[in-house]
């Protein structure tokens, strides 16, 4: 139950107010065929708000700020996705948002007790292994998708939260050093390096190089937090060596990248508007067309361009709602990620886990926004919680659940270890 009823009510009112203002904007200014469609959308959005506000109270948490920010962002994404090309409730995206909320709560329950989670680490590695086998066997030839009827699932998305959990570590875990020759090594670190190499090779093999920077970003974050624990006393020598190694690896990767990647790196989008620069040129024109305040909900033209609702969603939102609003939505996501800075986690495991989640969100957002603005090569990754796509939404929801877990942790020993220790004490 929420500790302060007054603050809970205030938070609910402001979230509802924010969504109502957007819905009023659609009612007065949107491209809706009939008022009924706006009413259906309003009932769906505000209804989900109310239901989640009640469900939230069933979980005994000490912090609910991230929950409120999550429902605020998710329902804004429902409104955006329902307005592309005319106002109508996007049922598919609405269902994925509900799945995302469920995944968030599952993430919270699984990750709140880090001591239990550490005992289960071998199963995390096992789950990643199973997903890799699934990708290699069940997806099509060198692809990342599994098609079941009209539903497409991207199993590689589910590797991301598991990889964040694999990268997270505790101080005690880093102290389990073994002497090999004249070096003290932590075996678990080498397991992680091996796992990262396997995942990178898999991404390369599946030609999904867009997700590769996300995995590398999560790994780099986890790697630095492992070598510089627990007070982040960064040694200049270590930092420079690690930076140089990363740079060399990146240069080698670029040198041996497939032809289609090389082409994208050197594309001039304005001279190749119908080829490789098609999506980016249209996205940039749409952002300019929308200006600061947008054309109005449902009045955009970008919905005629492929992947308007995921790969170039930032441009689609900018066109209809304005650059100002699109930037503010991104700011809301960043603020959700910054909550662990306001209330820092009390365990090193949860801190490294939160850092991994932030790395995932920031890498994905940067790749999508800067890619669609032609500041970096176009990769085609999603903006977490905003872009359409079931696998991405569920994964992002789970990751937010991990952030919530770091805010409302449990400090309990797993039962088996507790019993063993009790026996030792009696002896």
């Amino acid at each position: 139950m929420y500790i302060n009823t007054f603050l809970y009510i205030i938070s609910c009112i402001f979230v509802l107010l924010s969504h109502s203002a957007m819905l009023l904007n659609i009612y007065f200014n949107g491209n809706a065929e009939s008022t009924a469609k706006v009413i259906i959308l309003s009932v769906a959005v505000l209804g989900l708000d109310f239901v989640y506000f009640i469900i939230m109270l069933m979980f005994k948490q000490r912090s609910y700020a991230i929950d409120f920010l999550l429902i605020l962002i998710l329902n804004m994404s429902v409104i955006f996705q329902s307005c592309f090309g005319g106002v109508h409730l996007s049922v598919k995206h609405y269902i994925t948002c509900i799945a995302s909320l469920a995944a968030c709560k599952a993430g919270y329950i699984i990750c709140k007790n880090h001591k239990w989670l550490q005992v289960q680490k071998k199963y995390i590695y096992l789950a990643i292994g199973i997903l890799i086998v699934v990708i290699l066997t069940l997806t099509g030839s060198r692809s990342m998708w599994i098609n079941i009827g009209s539903i497409s699932i991207q199993p590689s998305e589910f590797i991301k939260p598991l990889f964040v959990l694999a990268c997270a570590t505790s101080v005690a875990e880093q102290q389990k050093k073994r002497k090999v020759l004249c070096f003290y090594v932590v075996y678990e670190n080498f397991a992680l390096y091996g796992l990262t190499a396997v995942i990178c090779l898999l991404q390369w093999w599946c030609r999904d190089l867009g997700s590769l920077p996300t995995f590398v970003g999560i790994f780099v974050c986890g790697f630095f937090l492992r070598i510089c624990y627990p007070k982040a006393k960064f040694s200049k020598k270590t930092l420079i060596t690690a930076g140089v190694i990363l740079l060399i690896v990146a240069l080698i990767a670029l040198r041996f990248a497939p032809d289609y990647v090389q082409e994208r790196l050197h594309t001039d989008i304005w001279s190749d508007k119908t080829g490789n620069g098609y999506q980016q040129s249209h996205a940039l024109i749409a952002i300019a067309d929308g200006g600061w305040f947008g054309k109005g909900a449902g009045y955009g033209d970008l919905h005629n361009v492929f992947a308007y609702e995921n790969d170039i969603v930032f441009a689609t939102i900018s066109e209809e709602w304005g650059l100002l609003f699109a930037l503010m939505v991104m700011l809301a996501i960043l603020i959700m990620l910054a909550v662990p800075l306001i209330n820092p986690p009390r365990s090193y495991y949860h801190s490294t886990m939160s850092a991994g989640v932030c790395a995932y969100f920031i890498m994905q957002m940067s790749l999508n926004i800067f890619g669609s603005c032609n500041m970096i090569p176009f990769t085609g990754v999603t903006i977490p919680l905003i872009s359409a796509g079931g696998s991405s939404m569920v994964t992002s929801g789970f990751m937010v659940g991990m952030l919530i877990a770091a805010q409302s942790p449990e400090f309990k020993r797993p039962a088996i270890r507790q019993q063993r220790n009790a026996r030792r004490q009696t002896a």
């Binding site: 924010s18 409120f68 001591k115 102290q175 939505v329 809301a332 603020i335 306001i342 209330n343 309990k412």
Partner: protein
């Protein structure tokens, strides 16, 4: 008519943006407020304990506290008799435990050499030449 439509669009967009801004601002303030509750919960978990040396006190602010001579240790004891990473303090279910992490001079609790031991209030811990007392927090001389 166009002028009217444009103005209403800008006005409604500005209202939506302002509502979103206000909501985010309120949620930031609420996150700050929740920090107090998180602190209270931590006080309950950690039982407000601290490690005290004759001239300085070390509050136990997270669930794993690394004690050693190294600059990156949470509690730094700059003495050659203390190993770089000497011992670790952990808390679970409100119970603090000290564990020796391969130190050269060992961990002594109330004069007994231990590898892992549950700590009780006013236990005396000896790490090399350094002597620490595990006790309830007092507000003066906090490191």
């Amino acid at each position: 008519m166009d002028f009217f439509t444009d103005t209403s669009n800008i006005f409604l967009c500005a209202v939506s943006a302002a509502a979103l801004d206000l909501c985010v601002l309120v949620l930031i303030l609420i996150a700050y407020n929740e920090k107090k509750h998180a602190q209270q919960y931590w006080n309950r978990i950690s039982c407000c304990m601290e490690l005290s040396a004759p001239d300085v006190s070390y509050p136990l602010n997270c669930d794993e506290i690394l004690i050693g001579r190294h600059a990156s240790a949470d509690i730094r004891l700059p003495d050659l008799s203390v190993s770089r990473y000497h011992a670790i303090l952990t808390v679970s279910d409100g119970i603090w435990t000290i564990t020796d992490i391969g130190s050269k001079s060992g961990v002594f609790v109330n004069g007994t050499l231990v590898t892992e031991r549950i700590l009780r209030e006013n236990d005396v811990i000896n790490l090399g030449n350094k002597r620490l007392i595990f006790r309830r927090r007092r507000n003066n001389n906090v490191h």
